[in-house]
Symmetry: C2
Subunit: 305 residues, 2 copies
C-alpha cells in the first residue's frame, strides 16, 4: 500500500475565483498529488482545498500553494466572517494510509521551516506538531484575531513563532501548520426551532465544558429549515465516535423533550469511522476490517497468489 | 473498475484434507482467480471455498472444482450432519463489483450446462438462476435429503433437472448452481441460557413465519458459553439490514426481559452493508459512498488528473 497523506489548507479568499484557481493550479502542478475537493464561501471569505498523495509530494504542493496565497491575498483588505490569522490560515497534514502521525509532524515542521525562510512569514505549529502547549489549539492561536496575535507575537515570549520573524507579515499575517487526525464534521438536526435547546446540548456534551473528549460542538439555527442543529467536530473519532456523539445528543435532546430529525456529514469521513459506528450500533463483540469483503479482496490481491 | 464475481461452493467433504486440497488446487489453477477463504468441518463433513475474480475465470474455476469433487467424493459413504444433495452440493455466484445479477445468472446457467454435459450429472438452478418457483429455495431442493430428491427427480415432472440426466449421479448426486446477493451470517447473543427464548425470537422475526423479508433465523444453544443465540442469515441486506435485524432481536428480547450480550459476524460482509448500518444508526439524512475518504481517493485516482 502506498503512503498517503491528506492536506486540507484553508485560505482567506472566498470571493475571487481567479485567486482560488491559482491556488488549485499550484497544488495540481505537483506530480502524484490528487485534488479531492475544493470549496469557497463568500460570507466566510475563505477557500478550502483537500488533496492527497505521498508525503513529499503533498508537502511540495502545500508549500507552492502557500507561496501563491502569500503573493495574491492581502489580509489588510479582508472582511470575512470566519476567524483567521493568515492569507494561508491553517495547513493540517493528516495520516491516511501507511503513514504515522510522527511522519506528518515531521512533514509539517519541514514545510513550516521552508516557507518561513522563503517567504519571510512567521509560522506556528499546532495540534500534534505544536512545540508549546498554548499553541496546540487553533482557537488559542486565533484568540483576539489577527490583531491579538500581532500584539502577542511582539510582546509575549510564549507567542514567538516556531520559525520566521517575530512580527506578522504585512499582507499575509502568519501561517499555522500542523498534523492531526482526520476531523469529522457531523451535525445533528433537532425537531425544534428553539436555539437555546441546541446551545444547551452543545454546551453539555462538548469537551471544553467538561463533556466528551475530542468533541467540539455549537448550537446553530437553520432558519430556512425551521430547525436548530448541534454542529460538531470530532477531532479524534477513535476517542469519541459518531455513534457516541449521536447518542449523547439524542439523550440530551430527549431530556428536553426534543426529537432528532436526522443527521448529516459535512465533507469526507474515514471508512474506519463508519465501520466503528456500525460495529457499535449492533454491539459487535469483535470486528476486524479483514472481515470486510472488499478489504479482504484488496489484501489478497495485493499479496499475490 | 474490473468486474468481480464471488463464488462460494460447498463440497460434501470435511475430513480428508487431501481431497479438500485437491479442490483448492483446482480453483487456484485458473489465472486471475483469488482464493479468499476456505473452511472444513468434520461434524458437518463439509468444505466451503470462497474465491473471486472476473466472471469467465470464476466460472472456469468452479467447473474445475466440480469435476474434481465428482471424481473424488463418494456420497454413498457420507454420514455428515449437514443436509446435502451432491458431492458438490451448492455453487452460488455473487455479484461484487461492476457486475449485474443477470451476468451471474448467465454464468451459473452456462457452467451448469457445461458440467452436466461433461460429467453426466443432473444440475438444478436455484435462487436468482431458478427456472421453476419450487427450485428457488435451497431448502426445497434438499427436502427429504438425497433420497427425497432421488425419488422426486424420477417421479415428479416439477423436479426434472435443468440440465443432465433425470436420475442422480451414483456417487456424486446432483449439483445446485445459482446466483444470489451476498449473504450475511449475523448472530446475536442473549443473556440467558433458555433456548426457548432464542427460538421464540427467531420464529417471530424470520420471514418464513411472517417476519422480516430476506431474514432467516434459528435459535441455537451455546453450551460452552452458557448462553443462547439468535443465528441469522440476511439474504439481501438491502431489504433487511443488520441494523434492522439487530433492532428486531433487541425489541423481542426486551419484551421477554432478556438483555443482548453482543453480536458476531461470521465470515465476510460487504462494505455497503456496514455503511448502511452506520448510516441508519446515526439517522443520516443522506449518505453517499463518495463521502467516504478512501472511496473518494480511489475514484479520483482511477479517473486520472
Amino acid at each position: 500500500m502506498p503512503q498517503i497523506i491528506e492536506c486540507i489548507p484553508n485560505f482567506s479568499e472566498g470571493r475571487n475565483p481567479t485567486i482560488v484557481q491559482a491556488l488549485i493550479t499550484a497544488v495540481k502542478s505537483v506530480p502524484d498529488v490528487w485534488l479531492l475537493d475544493h470549496t469557497m464561501d463568500g460570507d466566510h471569505h475563505r477557500a478550502v482545498l483537500t488533496f492527497v498523495g505521498p508525503p513529499e509530494a503533498v508537502g511540495e504542493a502545500a508549500a507552492r500553494a502557500i507561496k501563491v496565497a502569500t503573493e495574491l491575498i492581502d489580509l489588510r483588505r479582508h472582511d470575512g466572517k470566519h476567524p483567521r490569522v493568515g492569507a494561508t490560515d491553517v495547513v493540517p497534514f493528516v495520516p491516511i494510509q501507511d503513514v504515522s502521525m510522527e511522519e506528518c509532524v515531521q512533514l509539517a515542521r519541514g514545510i513550516g521551516q521552508r516557507v518561513s525562510a522563503d517567504l519571510g512569514i512567521p509560522v506556528f505549529f499546532y495540534e500534534q506538531a505544536a512545540t508549546h502547549p498554548d499553541h496546540v489549539k487553533l482557537e488559542n492561536i486565533r484568540r483576539g484575531g489577527l490583531q491579538g496575535l500581532a500584539s502577542r507575537i511582539v510582546s509575549d515570549p510564549t507567542w514567538a513563532p516556531d520559525f520566521g520573524p517575530k512580527r506578522l507579515h504585512e499582507t499575509a499575517g502568519a501561517v499555522v501548520i500542523g498534523a492531526r487526525q482526520p476531523l469529522i464534521a457531523f451535525n445533528v438536526n433537532l425537531k425544534t426551532d428553539d436555539l437555546t435547546v441546541a446551545k444547551a446540548i452543545a454546551k453539555t456534551i462538548r469537551h471544553s465544558n467538561g463533556g466528551l473528549p475530542c468533541l467540539k460542538a455549537i448550537g446553530v439555527k437553520l432558519a430556512s429549515r425551521g430547525m436548530v442543529q448541534v454542529a460538531m467536530n470530532l477531532t479524534d473519532y477513535r476517542v469519541t465516535s459518531m455513534h457516541t456523539a449521536f447518542q449523547a445528543v439524542k439523550t440530551e435532546a430527549s431530556k428536553r423533550g426534543v426529537e432528532i430529525i436526522g443527521s448529516e456529514l459535512i465533507g469526507l469521513v474515514p471508512q474506519a469511522a463508519l465501520d466503528q459506528t456500525s460495529a457499535a450500533s449492533i454491539q459487535l463483540e469483535r470486528f476486524d476490517s479483514a472481515q470486510v469483503l472488499e478489504t479482504r479482496i484488496g489484501v489478497v490481491m495485493s499479496r499475490g497468489h
